[in-house]
């Protein structure tokens, strides 16, 4: 039982110990990390027999208030297995890949922390623990994303973190509601209460799934994916797309299967979102020139396939067993070939430091081993018969046909065609990638750099390639435990499934054909520009409307500006009014008052007095204001301006005059009269 706790704690401690060793000696730390992940993998493997017959649980009391409740069933075990394997291989790979990079110590520290958090996500049964590890994972993986610390990675990191936190908070909202309606935090018990709650359950489901959808980069929330994958160093982007993507999908499965038990409307929604993801990812992947970006968009489109699988599980209801195991298998396969492809691009980037196809075309022509592994990865991805991709795709295809038979709804017939075209798209952009790098002939890359491709980088790719082929050839080895798990949790018994049947091969050939056609007609013709030095791809999609920069940002910025203006107003309204009042009083108090005009003549300098003789007669006319104004205009001479004095001085003088003796007596008289009036009037 407590092996679960060991599995969880080991990478956590490893991160700190690794960091400590790292400060001392780099080599020892790399060795330590590899050994650690190897032990972890072994521990996970030893778990398999126990998990095979029934799920194991373990409860650590009052940690984090609600206690740490760990549970591993076959679904979770599959996820654990691929993450353990992936981490082991990428650690080996990154020891070689990161040599040129700086602050490696910090990288490995966050690398291990993310590993612990991911395991936590896959193991936790209590939704608060799930949420804790999920948030922890986004924070620690953030550090991996902006490892290069240049402007581009900061920008990617900012949107990654913003969306992760926003997703987390919306999920928290959903958890609040779920806790309020069900009173419990355990996913299983929730699953008993939530389904019969009326339409509030859809709100709860959607809110909780929102956070997972962001991590799984479902259609409207996918904008962070291409930026984050390209910005991150290759091993971490491999893990990001291989494993962290799966946590999102795993969450969606949990919500759909365990909490909502196959709720039809949510399933259909996921199914359609899957379709959108496939096409959006596929088309955009075709357009790109940066190979990492192509693979990033390809994972988005593969997520689309998996989403369709999850949707089918919901749609098929009781017979969804096959669809569930197909989806899980698809997730496993996708992890393997996606990490393989990323490792390949990693090696290219490590050597050339360049990712755009035009610059690295023909690099791999002579690199036999790299070419072979990369080819296996591409074929796996394109679901070429004999490779693992084919197995999961045909199973998915079977599930769609079954759904069609079940509901007799033409919608599924149409989506089946889309399914095949989607497969074609995958083939198209993979061809573009493979042909450009490995098939083109490029003189300046002949024979060079062979020695740079080290064994330590190639071994993980070899293992992955081997696994891809093994699953392709012996699918039942993985499939039977999955099917037994599906039957275990209440699906109907699944009759023996024939994978390598004739029509399944025909279907995959059809999608391959479509892919080649798209490649020939569209990519070669439209995207390839011939110029004197040979061809270069251009990327039309840069100008397209992208949801993030054209929709999210402007709206948020506008809201931010409006509210901050409103609040700054509230913030210093008191100072504002005080200042206005003070200025008002000050301005009133020093307005100029022209005091009596006649004194002004006395002070006129002698020279000008002759001139004024004539005016003397009008002196008494000056008493009224109008005359004064007229006389001012008339006197263009620089007459001494009327003796002006500030109102303030007037008040002060007035005040002192007022308190003189005779005025005070006058005031006394007024007060006596006022009192008499007051008493008699009011009396």
């Amino acid at each position: 039982m407590n092996t679960l706790v060991y599995i969880l704690i080991l990478p956590l401690l490893g991160a700190f110990i690794g960091y400590y060793i790292g400060t001392k000696n780099e080599m020892k730390r790399d060795l330590f990390n590899i050994v650690l992940t190897a032990i972890e993998l072994l521990l996970v493997i030893t778990l398999f027999p126990a998990i095979n017959d029934q799920a194991i649980e373990y409860m650590v009391p009052n940690v984090m208030g609600t206690g740490l409740h760990l549970k591993v069933d076959m679904l979770r075990y599959a996820m654990l297995f691929i993450s353990a394997l992936a981490w082991f291989l990428t650690t080996m790979y990154s020891t070689q890949y990161l040599i040129k990079k700086k602050n490696r110590n910090r990288y490995y520290f966050f690398f291990m922390l993310t590993y612990a958090m991911t395991i936590g996500v896959f193991m936790s049964e209590n939704i608060i623990n799930l949420f804790t590890f999920f948030e922890g994972m986004s924070l620690t993986s953030y550090a991996l994303v902006i490892h290069d610390e240049d402007k581009y990675s900061h920008e990617a990191g900012k949107s990654y973190l913003a969306m992760a936190i926003a997703g987390g908070l919306v999920m928290l909202f959903g958890i609040f509601l779920a806790f309020d309606y069900t009173g419990t935090l355990d996913i299983e018990e929730m699953g008993k209460i939530l389904p019969n709650l009326g339409d509030i359950k859809y709100v709860i489901a959607l809110l909780i799934m929102f956070g997972f959808m962001i991590k799984a980069s479902v259609f409207p929330l996918h904008t962070w994916l291409p930026k984050a994958y390209t910005a991150a160093p290759t091993p971490s982007s491999a893990l990001l797309s291989g494993i962290l993507l799966k946590t999102g999908l795993f969450g969606i499965i949990i919500v759909l299967v365990e909490m909502m038990n196959y709720d039809m409307p949510i399933a259909v929604l996921l199914y359609c979102l899957g379709l959108v993801n496939i096409f959006l990812g596929g088309i955009l992947a075709m357009m790109q020139r940066n190979i990492k970006r192509i693979i990033a968009y390809s994972s988005m489109s593969q997520t689309g396939f998996m989403l369709m699988g999850i949707g089918l599980v919901g749609i098929l209801g009781k017979e969804g067993g096959l669809a569930l195991s197909a989806t899980i298998l698809y997730m496993i396969n996708h992890a393997f070939f996606k990490i393989l492809l990323f490792m390949g691009t990693g090696i290219i980037y490590m050597i050339l430091g360049e990712l755009s196809i035009n610059k690295i075309s023909g690099f791999g022509h002579k690199k036999q081993k790299l070419k072979a592994f990369f080819l296996i990865g591409v074929l796996g991805l394109c679901a070429f018969p004999g490779f693992n991709g084919f197995v999961s795709k045909t199973l998915l295809h079977e599930a769609i046909l079954e759904a069609y038979h079940l509901t007799h709804h033409h919608f599924f017939k149409i989506t089946e065609y889309f399914f095949i075209i989607g497969g074609g798209l995958t083939v198209a952009y993979m061809l573009k990638l493979f042909v450009a790098i490995f098939m083109e002939k490029n003189s300046d890359f002949y024979g060079k750099y062979n020695e740079l491709v080290h064994k330590r980088a190639l071994i993980p790719m070899g293992i992955l390639a081997g696994l891809i082929v093994f699953i392709g050839v012996f699918p039942n080895a993985i499939l039977t435990p999955l099917i037994r798990y599906a039957e275990g949790i209440g699906f109907d018994a699944i009759s023996h499934v024939v994978i390598y049947s004739s029509e399944s091969v025909i279907y995959s050939m059809m999608s391959l054909l479509i892919g080649v056609l798209i490649y020939q007609l569209f990519i070669q013709r439209k995207l390839y520009v011939k110029n004197k030095t040979g061809g270069a791809y251009f990327n039309p999609s840069l100008g397209w409307f992208s949801i993030e920069t054209d929709l999210f940002e402007p709206v948020l910025k506008m809201l931010y500006k409006v509210f901050s203006f409103l609040f700054t107003l509230i913030d210093n309204w008191l100072l504002f009014t005080a200042k206005i009042l003070a200025d008002g009083i000050k301005s009133i108090s020093n307005v100029d008052i022209v005091t009596s005009i006649d004194r002004e003549f006395k002070s006129v300098p002698l020279g000008a007095s002759m001139m004024l003789k004539g005016l003397k007669s009008k002196k008494d006319a000056l008493k009224n204001i109008e005359a004064k104004v007229k006389i001012n205009e008339a006197l263009e001479l620089d007459l001494v301006q009327g003796q002006t004095s500030k109102l303030k001085e007037l008040i002060v003088k007035g005040h002192s005059k007022m308190t003189s003796i005779s005025n005070s007596i006058f005031l006394f008289g007024i007060v006596v009269v006022f009192c008499f009036l007051f008493v008699y009037v009011m009396g």
Binding site: N62, E149, F173, F176, F567, I570
Partner: protein, 492 residues
């Protein structure tokens, strides 16, 4: 006899203050040691008050039923006095180091210890009159701390702080007068002094509660009266950390809890239905605080606005008028105190070591001051409410409380503001750790980039302890929660 011991925590700091003032008894170099001694002794006294479970109470001066200085210990007192004395000791250690390069330290320590006595007075007060007396004294003895630097700007902000506090105090007095004329008694009784709802003039009670809420709200940085807090940041860091993150603002919140649950009682406030007038203020405080924090480039100002927003959370928790909301409020009072004081200490040590006060200046500093910035990041994570830390626990209870009051709008406000909190706290640690353009350390030009700029252990020690508390409270919150159960038992 028990009662005399009860009074000791109040007496000891005052005695200490008197001794510090004259130079003959306490020479200059012994001041810091003496202050540390006083604080530790006081902490022990508060601890022993913690464990005695019988209801200790004492009338120090009872002239008539209105004018009596009455101290009583109940669960709420224990929570607040413990929080205050723990954080006071940590701030003291921090201040010993920080104040080395400031002048007039003796005056600082005098008022520093006196403020502790006043805060404990607020915690121990048994009726509204004593609370109000100490509340006024709090303004008076924190004023010299705010204007410690003596510059023109400090005097101006001190003046503003004074005007706001006295305006608030007069509002409180207004409310108290009306309350006293209705009820004739002001002692804190669990579940409020109004035993039956009818028979009282509804709108008088409503007016008195609003007046008192806004009055105490001034100290708790409620929206219309909050702008003294960012200005008070001109004070030295230990002051702004302890006072404006913990002592002063929390005493405002503490008194609000007192009047809401121990004078009016939740049932009366529900009957009088006064919260609908106050909720807009609180909601605006929450959102405005965090939104404006995004604007501030000055580190301490940013933390000040963050305090305003977090206090809005606590007020929201109080106004929910249900057990979960109250637990959430008190828990957040504790958690926010611990988190905010760590953030302020970290910012303080940055400005102490490198005289940098603005965010754009601290890029790449994370490598030089790793421990400080790690603690800063953990505290920031906790303030946002990421689960393993204690900030999440209080947000959880506030959320559940909001649901019990079946009001989804509160949760939306909480989460929106949490998002903004992330918005203004994470960039700080990101610029510190991950932005790497050459840090222009013109001050330490000759210091090679590799050597660390960590502050001395005296400053670092409190920061690390507080971070450990943050994580510890986050992972094992049950101990605190059932300690607060006692308070809720009184209030409901």
């Amino acid at each position: 006899m028990g009662q005399i011991i009860m009074l000791l925590p109040l007496g000891v700091p005052i005695l200490g203050t008197l001794l510090i003032t004259n130079k003959k008894i306490i020479k200059d170099e012994y001041v810091t040691k003496f202050v540390a001694g006083v604080l530790i002794v006081n902490f022990l006294l508060v601890l022993n008050a913690l464990f005695g479970n019988q209801m200790l109470q004492i009338h120090v001066l009872k002239v008539n039923d209105f004018l009596d200085i009455y101290f009583k210990i109940d669960q709420m007192t224990r929570v607040f006095s413990l929080l205050a004395s723990v954080l006071w000791i940590l701030t003291a250690f921090y201040a010993f180091e920080y104040m080395k390069h400031e002048q007039r330290t003796r005056q600082f320590y005098t008022f520093f210890t006196m403020t502790l006595a006043v805060i404990l007075g607020v915690a121990y007060s048994g009726n509204l009159f004593t609370l109000y007396a100490y509340y006024e004294l709090l303004t008076l003895c924190t004023l010299p701390l705010v204007i410690h630097t003596g510059t023109e700007e400090a005097l101006a902000s001190g003046k503003k702080y004074m005007i706001y506090s006295f305006a608030g105090a007069s509002l409180v007095i207004l409310g108290m007068m009306i309350l006293y004329s209705i009820t004739g008694t002001m002692t804190f009784t669990p579940r409020g002094i109004f035993n039956d709802i009818e028979g009282y003039d509804q709108n008088l009670i409503r007016f008195s509660y609003i007046a008192m809420f806004l009055g105490f709200g001034v100290k708790a940085a409620l929206v219309p009266f909050h702008s003294w807090l960012p200005n008070a940041m001109v004070a030295p860091t230990p002051v702004s950390a302890l006072l404006h993150a913990v002592a002063v603002v929390k005493s405002g919140v503490f008194s609000l809890i007192r009047i809401t649950y121990f004078i009016f009682g939740a049932s009366m406030i529900k009957a009088v239905d006064v919260t609908k007038y106050l909720i807009p203020f609180v909601v605006i405080t929450v959102v405005m605080g965090s939104l404006l924090a995004l604007h501030q480039d000055h580190l301490k100002k940013r933390l000040a606005y963050s305090t305003i927003s977090q206090l809005g959370y606590i007020l929201l928790g109080i106004l929910m008028l249900n057990p979960n909301g109250l637990i959430g409020a008190i828990l957040h009072m504790i958690n926010h105190a611990v988190i905010k004081i760590t953030l302020f200490f970290a910012v303080g040590s940055i400005s102490h070591m490198t005289h940098k006060k603005y965010i754009h200046q601290i890029s790449g500093l994370g490598k030089k001051m790793p421990i400080t910035f790690i603690c800063f990041t953990i505290a920031a994570v906790s303030l946002v409410g990421i689960p393993p830390t204690n900030g999440f626990v209080s947000k959880w209870f506030l959320g559940v409380g909001a649901l019990n009051a079946n009001n989804l709008f509160y949760i939306f406000i909480l989460l929106l503001s949490a998002f903004f909190t992330a918005g203004y706290l994470f960039p700080v640690s990101v610029t510190a750790f991950f932005v790497n353009e050459k840090p222009n350390l013109e001050v330490q030009e000759e210091a090679t980039l590799s050597d660390s700029l960590e502050p001395s252990p005296f400053m670092l020690f409190p920061i690390v302890i507080l971070t450990v508390i943050i994580i510890g409270l986050g992972i094992f919150p049950n101990a605190v929660i059932n300690f607060l159960g006692g308070v809720v038992a009184d209030a409901f």
